[in-house]
Symmetry: C2
């Protein structure tokens, strides 16, 4: 079959390239896009099957803007929204604007592809998981939040500590301690 086409819209150079390459490794034709304009142009040209859009983008268009227009430009595409912090409000808005699904930022290609497959299959993600039995431990929740914020600050520990409301030294120590942990 002809390879499927994907658009990766993210202003983070590293992430964009990494995800694009990972998709390529999985047989996709991946087009990295840096901003809204480029994304819309490619969307019109390529008729992609999938579009991965970061919510927070530098430039005139936000991820939500792109989702909205992408829905027009490439009606058949599966649009995946992507951002940090499990912001439910954002996810809701995104889907109302036409995104098919939503992923948290530290998302790898497998998750993206999995989400794509699910959307294509028309499977409501986790339909049966109504019995949420697992309760993440406090430590786990803390760790994940730290990771998100840290990623959001591009690894800037000082800034992250400030945002998290704890001392830089403490953040350093937490980072030294947890990494090996599960």
């Amino acid at each position: 079959m002809t390879p499927r086409i994907a658009l990766v819209v993210d202003d983070d150079e590293v992430f964009r390239q990494r995800l694009s390459r990972a998709l390529a490794d999985r047989g996709w034709v991946a087009h990295p896009c840096q901003d809204g304009a480029e994304a819309m142009r490619l969307a019109a040209e390529q008729s992609p099957d999938l579009a991965v859009v970061d919510l927070r983008l530098a430039g005139p268009m936000t991820g939500l803007d792109i989702v909205r227009e992408m829905r027009m430009a490439a009606p058949g595409a599966c649009i995946l929204m992507l951002t940090g912090y499990g912001s439910i409000a954002t996810a809701l808005i995104a889907t109302k604007l036409g995104a098919d699904h939503y992923l948290n930022k530290p998302a790898d290609a497998d998750q993206v592809v999995a989400a794509y497959e699910r959307v294509r299959m028309g499977v409501e993600p986790g339909g049966g998981e109504s019995h949420e039995k697992e309760v993440p431990s406090l430590a786990r929740v803390e760790w994940e939040h730290i990771q998100r914020v840290l990623a959001d600050c591009d690894g800037n520990i000082s800034q992250a500590a400030k945002l998290l409301g704890l001392h830089r030294r403490s953040l350093q120590r937490k980072l030294l301690k947890y990494p090996p942990r599960t």
Copy 2:
């Protein structure tokens, strides 16, 4: 004006009564419902303006089932989905089935009313506010998670502490300390 009518669907007796009373205090006519059947019956009879539905319900119908049918039975109602743990996947499914908004379980009447107002005002997709600047502090994330788990354990401190992975005494102390905080 005539009071607005609300349906509170939750199998947790305590929560259901509490929220119903709180809504009543705010001038609503609140009907507590224990299960799907009762909810659907009341929905047909009362034409509620608002329905607050817990996702996890005992009985044959899940919250998602109720949302779906409620949308039919009371097309004009504002449907708020409600559950513990900010499960984005669940929230997305709920909105696809017709829920207007989603709230995390330890939700008080003010939040419910606020959500109702917002939905009625059509505040949602209003493009502009892409903000996403706020980063919840570590303490806040911790606190919210504790509240969710605790609610999930029906206030059982010992059990909650075990699930959270910390000592019962520590949980007690945290609870004694934070409450006043916002």
